[in-house]
Structure formats: structure tokens, C-alpha cells
Symmetry: C2
């Protein structure tokens, strides 16, 4: 066993792990499942000590990354791995809002998160910092693509050895975007759920730190920063409504946990936040359970272009379901055509190019507005979690072609005329 025991130090406020189901407590080692009831383990903090030590100004004086929230994260290092991850823009989406009929719409844009352009950089920065503290020298993950990119990149920066597992049918940008960092890359002939099962076996036989298996309690805490940052960027206020994608459900539950923690330590005034979730219709086990009023999630076989969120057996599905219901949110799904339209809508109105997961979220946002499930007056925050350059296949056939011209003014003028005729331009140039 490579892990060494770590306990809280003077400026560390996480204390132990606790089973979300039976409440059994564990020391903060590389474990993720309760020995008694097989429930998932979660990190616990001394919130009363935290509330005394942390204020808005101590946070604002911190680095421009997730590590400004270090006291709320499960690491002891005073020099965590920091490649500038987090503090991505909260963009006021006025043009998209007008298109949809909303008044106060914001995009939390993790399509430009650093270093690998998805929210996974948050969770991996935390997991690898913790892996290093626990003595691991080789790190690993089961991934739908973004996590592979992030684990390989941040491991390279930190000088950790890395072995990554992905489904063999991933988009080429996600494969290349992993190989470039020179990890060992295993392409598994199966879907993500099969990759995940294989990795659980490997985690038991090799002494590796799997960021989303034996390090999962630490890893998943990184997503809380998506809650913290939105509060801070809204001027220390909670939003009224959020819409986020659901894959394993972990992101969704941790954003909620982030909101609650900032209320609990007195950093923000409490108010209800409605939490709505988005799934691809081709892999929507949580949306199905929501629609059918079930409190359990039945696994499905994924079949969607939204590969990064295609988890048929979501580990935190029931918790996401519970949060959506108790906050008066909703869970909705979008089919592949709607996902592509969602990607294009966000790009054309806001200049933000997201991958299929983001297209799913935008498409679900549209549906929720159309169904009257989002009030136009609500301050609504939509979480965009990954970059469109990674899933170019998904939109390649739907964006048209450039107008090819010769390097001559006459050729340009003909093309411009053609474009106008085709109503590809809705403007008239001003002649001088």
C-alpha cells in the first residue's frame, strides 16, 4: 500500500471520510466505498473552524484559481498543483437570453478551463494533489475523454506516471488530446460502464491512484468550486436557478454541496436555488427516473453523440435525482439533433463553442424555458463544461462550408452576392 495516513493540520479543515448512506467514518485514505454498506464515502470538514478562519476577503486575496478555496478542499499541501484551473468567466449571456425570453442568464464557461478545457481540470487538480500527498507515483482514471485529457496533462506537469482508460470509440480530438502528454493509454472495446468496471478491478490489483475510483472522495470535491465561483462572481449571491449536465451525477451534487457550504459558513445569504439537470436522450437514466417518479435509477446502454456524459450506470444518479426534486428543479433530456442545434445556438449568440455535453445543456435550457419551468425573472446560471474543439465530428456536417474564392476582388464580390442571394447574410454592407 503506497498511501500514508494524513490528518488535519492547523490550516486544513477536512477531517475524515464518511459514508453517505450509513454514516460510518473513515480516515482520509485512498478508499471510496463503505466496508459495511457499500455506500459512497464523502469528505467531511470542520465547518465551525472553517467559518472562523475564512472570509470573503481572505478568498478574494487568494490566487485566481480553484485554490483560492483551498480550506474547502481535501488537501494538506500548501503548494497544490496549480495550472491556473478554475475562475473561468461567468458570462452575461444577453443575446442568448433575448433569444430564449429570459432576463438574467449567465454562462459559467468551463469550455475554457485550464489546462485542458473542461471542468475535469478542477477535479483532477484536487485528486492529483491528494494522490501526491498519499504517496502515489502512478495515477490513473476511467474516462469518457475529458478526464483522460486532464489526468494525462496534469500528471505530466506534476511529473507523475499515468495510465488512462477510455472507451475505444471516442472522438479523435479526445484521443489525440490525451496521447500528446505521453501517458499509457488503454482503449477498451466497450462502453464507459465496462471501462469503469475494468478499472475497479485494476485498482484492486495495482497500487495506483485512480482519480475517479479510490481517490473519488477527494476528486469529486473539486466540483464544489463551480458552486463557489458562481456565488463569488455574482457578487456573493446565490443564483435562483442552475442548469447543469448529468453524467455520473457527481458534478450536480457537488455544485449543490458548494452552495450549501458557503451558506453554512456564513459567506452568502441563504435562499432557494432550483437545480435542474440535463441528459442526452440516448443516455438518460436519471431523466427517465425523474419523469417516472422513481427514486432509483435503472442502468441503460448509451447511444448518443454526447459521449462525455454517456454514463449508463451513474454512480451519483439517485443523489442528483433527490436534489432536483427537493429544490423544485427538473431533469430533462435532448436528442442528438437538439444537441447539435444547442451547440450552434450558443456559438452564434454568445461566441462560445462547446462540446456535445454543453449542447445538451443548452438544448435542455431551451426546453425548460419553453415548458415554463424557468421563470424569465430568475437569475439562471448554465454550466458549460467542455470545449467544442474536442468533439468536432459532432458538428462537422452541420456548419456549412466556406465560400471558396480566387484572390481577386471580382471573385469576392461574386461570392458575396451569392451569399446574399442565399440569405446567408442578413446585413447590407455600407458602400463608401
Amino acid at each position: 500500500m503506497t498511501a500514508t495516513l494524513t490528518s488535519a493540520t492547523s490550516d486544513t479543515y477536512f477531517t475524515h471520510l464518511q459514508c453517505k448512506e450509513c454514516g460510518a467514518e473513515y480516515e482520509a485514505q485512498a478508499i471510496h466505498v463503505c466496508e459495511y454498506c457499500f455506500g459512497p464515502l464523502e469528505v467531511k470538514y470542520d465547518l465551525s473552524q472553517l467559518s472562523e478562519a475564512v472570509s470573503r476577503s481572505t478568498i478574494e486575496a487568494g490566487p485566481p484559481s480553484i485554490w483560492r478555496y483551498r480550506p474547502f478542499l481535501p488537501v494538506t499541501s500548501t503548494e497544490p498543483i496549480d495550472l491556473g484551473t478554475g475562475m473561468t468567466p461567468l458570462v452575461k449571456a444577453s443575446r442568448l437570453a433575448r433569444r430564449l425570453g429570459l432576463k438574467h442568464l449567465y454562462i459559467k464557461n468551463d469550455a475554457v478551463n485550464m489546462p485542458t478545457l473542461s471542468f475535469k481540470d478542477r477535479v483532477v487538480s484536487v485528486a492529483l494533489t491528494r494522490a501526491r500527498e498519499l504517496g502515489f507515483t502512478t495515477v490513473s482514471c476511467a474516462s469518457t475523454g475529458n478526464l483522460a485529457n486532464s489526468t494525462a496533462a496534469i500528471a505530466a506537469h506534476a511529473g507523475l506516471d499515468c495510465c488512462v482508460f477510455i472507451p475505444a470509440d471516442l472522438e479523435s480530438g479526445k484521443v489525440l488530446g490525451t496521447l500528446i502528454y505521453a501517458p499509457t493509454l488503454m482503449a477498451v472495446q466497450g462502453n464507459y460502464d465496462q471501462v469503469n468496471r475494468l478499472c475497479s478491478e485494476v485498482a484492486n490489483t495495482h497500487g495506483w491512484g485512480f482519480v475517479n475510483i479510490n481517490l473519488r472522495p477527494y476528486y469529486s470535491e473539486g466540483s464544489k468550486t463551480l458552486g463557489y465561483e458562481v456565488i463569488e462572481q455574482l457578487g456573493w449571491q446565490l443564483p435562483d436557478h442552475i442548469v447543469a449536465p448529468l453524467a455520473s451525477g457527481s458534478l450536480f451534487t457537488k455544485i449543490y454541496k458548494g452552495f450549501r457550504e458557503f451558506v453554512d459558513v456564513g459567506l452568502v445569504a441563504d435562499k432557494p436555488v432550483r437545480c435542474s439537470g440535463a441528459q442526452a436522450a440516448g443516455c438518460s437514466p436519471i431523466a427517465q427516473a425523474y419523469a417516472e417518479g422513481r427514486d432509483f435509477v435503472s442502468p441503460v446502454k448509451p447511444n448518443t453523440i454526447a459521449k462525455s456524459i454517456a454514463i449508463g450506470n451513474p454512480a451519483d444518479g439517485v443523489y442528483a435525482l433527490d436534489i432536483a426534486r427537493k429544490t423544485n428543479g427538473a431533469i430533462e433530456s435532448a436528442n442528438d439533433d437538439e444537441i447539435v442545434a444547442g451547440i450552434k445556438l450558443l456559438a452564434e449568440t454568445e461566441g462560445i463553442f462547446t462540446e456535445t455535453a454543453g449542447g445538451t445543456t443548452i438544448a435542455v435550457l431551451q426546453k425548460l424555458v419553453a415548458a415554463g419551468k424557468i421563470d424569465p425573472e430568475e437569475v439562471t446560471v448554465v454550466y458549460i463544461t467542455g470545449n467544442g474543439l474536442k468533439t468536432q465530428e459532432a458538428v462537422q456536417d452541420y456548419v456549412g462550408e466556406p465560400l471558396t474564392i480566387e484572390p481577386k476582388l471580382s471573385s469576392f464580390e461574386r461570392a458575396l452576392e451569392r451569399a446574399r442571394t442565399l440569405e446567408r447574410l442578413d446585413w447590407q454592407p455600407v458602400l463608401v
Copy 2:
């Protein structure tokens, strides 16, 4: 003519345009060439007023974007177009430094600049803010790819109509990464220099704001922020040496201008900064002039994988040449194989995936170190200007393949054994 005259207001410190060659002065309109001598026009500021109004703390209290430096930029808007552009990480590159034998190496990582992952978002944010002030409703550019992405995205966000010109042979990621924002996209059958000439004609016949033609004086000022940010991120100090790519030469000259302005207004203590430039061997007119001791730059026909910096007739080439010489820097070039190796080296050591321009810069960094032209003790900053996901073709054949396995432990173990045999792993897993 759509442009309206704008003069300095109380919190605006830019005053006029001035010819870099003959000194003739012009009002701050949409013009870029001197009527008398055809020299390029540059923005001038009231630096004495600026030095009274601005301090380190007023800057630090500003937004986490280039607009924290708004008094140093040629706009009058108090609400400039801000998609979170700038304030990209300055990464301490310890692993790359050790590999090269340097002690204080930093990467200024604009591969993760917002929103479109290149330094062009800086110049376009400034140009389109100014375009709006001058009354333009249609914006345009001649681009090698990154500028097309950025202009189309930021125009979409700002609700400006957009027509973009690119060479027809660009990388697919750059074409798709423009089309997604639904501009009119003209693919010109020719190289960048031909595209640029065509656009100069179009700028004369249509009343459009071409960011890098008639708006060029404003546009190019955006690159100064790459100088300002490095100073601020080094704790308000100048570096000893910088290495930056050279395309038109504008970026290079504006980083230098940024350094000088901060010295001139008293924000940073003066000291010599050596400025070195990188070109691709397949398009190295400035490096050739440097090597041959010429003070003029002879145009070349580009032939390199580094398309984003393939400008055969660089507008600011002689100014870049002058700065490299007077600061005791150097200009060097790297061939296509070295560029690919540079991309891989940066990814494997630092977890940063850059495009071909960045590979060029890293390859030149290596050469300068090997030639003794960078002292190991120098605080050296390397500018990485674009993201590798945009030029996947360049490295696709050089990163290997994943190991394809069945979703079974035995298949994984066989693959791992094979990988080790092939010495693709330099580590041994710890058995528990």
C-alpha cells in the same frame, strides 16, 4: 463612411495616431497608413496623465481580464467587450527547465486564452470594442486561422455582423472553429499574403472594420497586455529574457512596447530585457534578415506546418528585427520536425498542448539554450500563443496509438506487459 470621430475623455488617455516613420499625426479614426510616407500608424497616449491616474493597486483592483489595463488601451467605452480575455496563467515550467538546463523558466500560456484559445482574443477584444465606438456594424479580417476564430466568436457575442477571409488550405479545426459562429467565411485560394492583399482592396470598397487592416492601430495595441501581465505576474518585475513567435512581427513589438510603457509610467523598475523571436524555417524572412545582418526583410513564399505564423511579407518585420538587435536578443528558426518535437516536449513536461506556433517557439528556445544565447540564470518567459486542438493534423502521426484491449483484466495485463516490454513505461507499478 461609418466611422465617427472620437476624442479622449476624462478617463481615456489615448490621444491620437502617429506615423512610426515620419511622425505625422492623425485623429483616432479607422486609418492605418500614413498619407505622406505610407508608414504604419500607431496609437499615442498621454503618459504623464496616465502615470498620475494609474497605480499597481488600481490595476490589481480591476477585472481578471485585459481590461484591468483599460487606461493603456485605445478605447473610450467604460463597458468594453469582455469575454474574460487575458490574465492567462504564467506557469513556472520546472520540469521543462530541468530538461533544458535552465533555472527560471516560465510559460505565458495563451493556449488557454478566452474565448477562442489564442492570443488573438486580446487584439480582437480591443479592435471590436473600438469598431463599435467608431460605428462599424460589420467587422472583418484577413487571417491565418486563429484570428478568424477570434473575430467570428467575439463578433457573435457582441452582435456584430462578420465576414472572415482565410487561406483555403487551413487546418480543419480552424475552419470549423470559425464556421461554428456562423460568420460569412471566404476561403481564398492563395497564401496569407494574397488574402491580406485582397482584404486591403475590400477594405477600400466596403465600409467594413477590418481588425488587422483599417483598425490595425487599435487591434495591435491589445498585444501589449502580454507584456503587462507578465510584469504583474512576476510580482511587478520585468523578466530578463523573452522568447516569442514572429508572424507579422506585431506581437513581438507590442510586448516590448508594453514593457517600456510600464517602465515609463513608473509601474516597474527598469532593467534590460532581451527579446528573442522564433520563426518556422519554412517561412523565416525575419530570421533570415537577422542572420544575414540585413536591416530590411525580403518577402518569402511560406511552406511550413506552422500555418498560423506563415506570413511571408511581415508588416512589422523590420521593427521586430530592430528590437531583437537592440535588446541583445536573437531570432532563430525551427524546421517542421523540430516544431512537432517542440509541441511534444512541452506537452510531456508541462501538460500544455500548443499548436504549431508554440512548437516553433519551444524548438527555438531549445536552440537558443544550446547555443548559449540564453543564460541559465536568466528569468526567461516563453510566449505560447495558441492551442494544439486547432492543429491536430500536425501531430496526429507522431503521438502513437492507444493500446486497444478487451474489457477484461487479463487483456489489460497483457497490454501493460507489452507496453513495458516496448519501454513505453518507465515506471513499475507497486503491487499491494
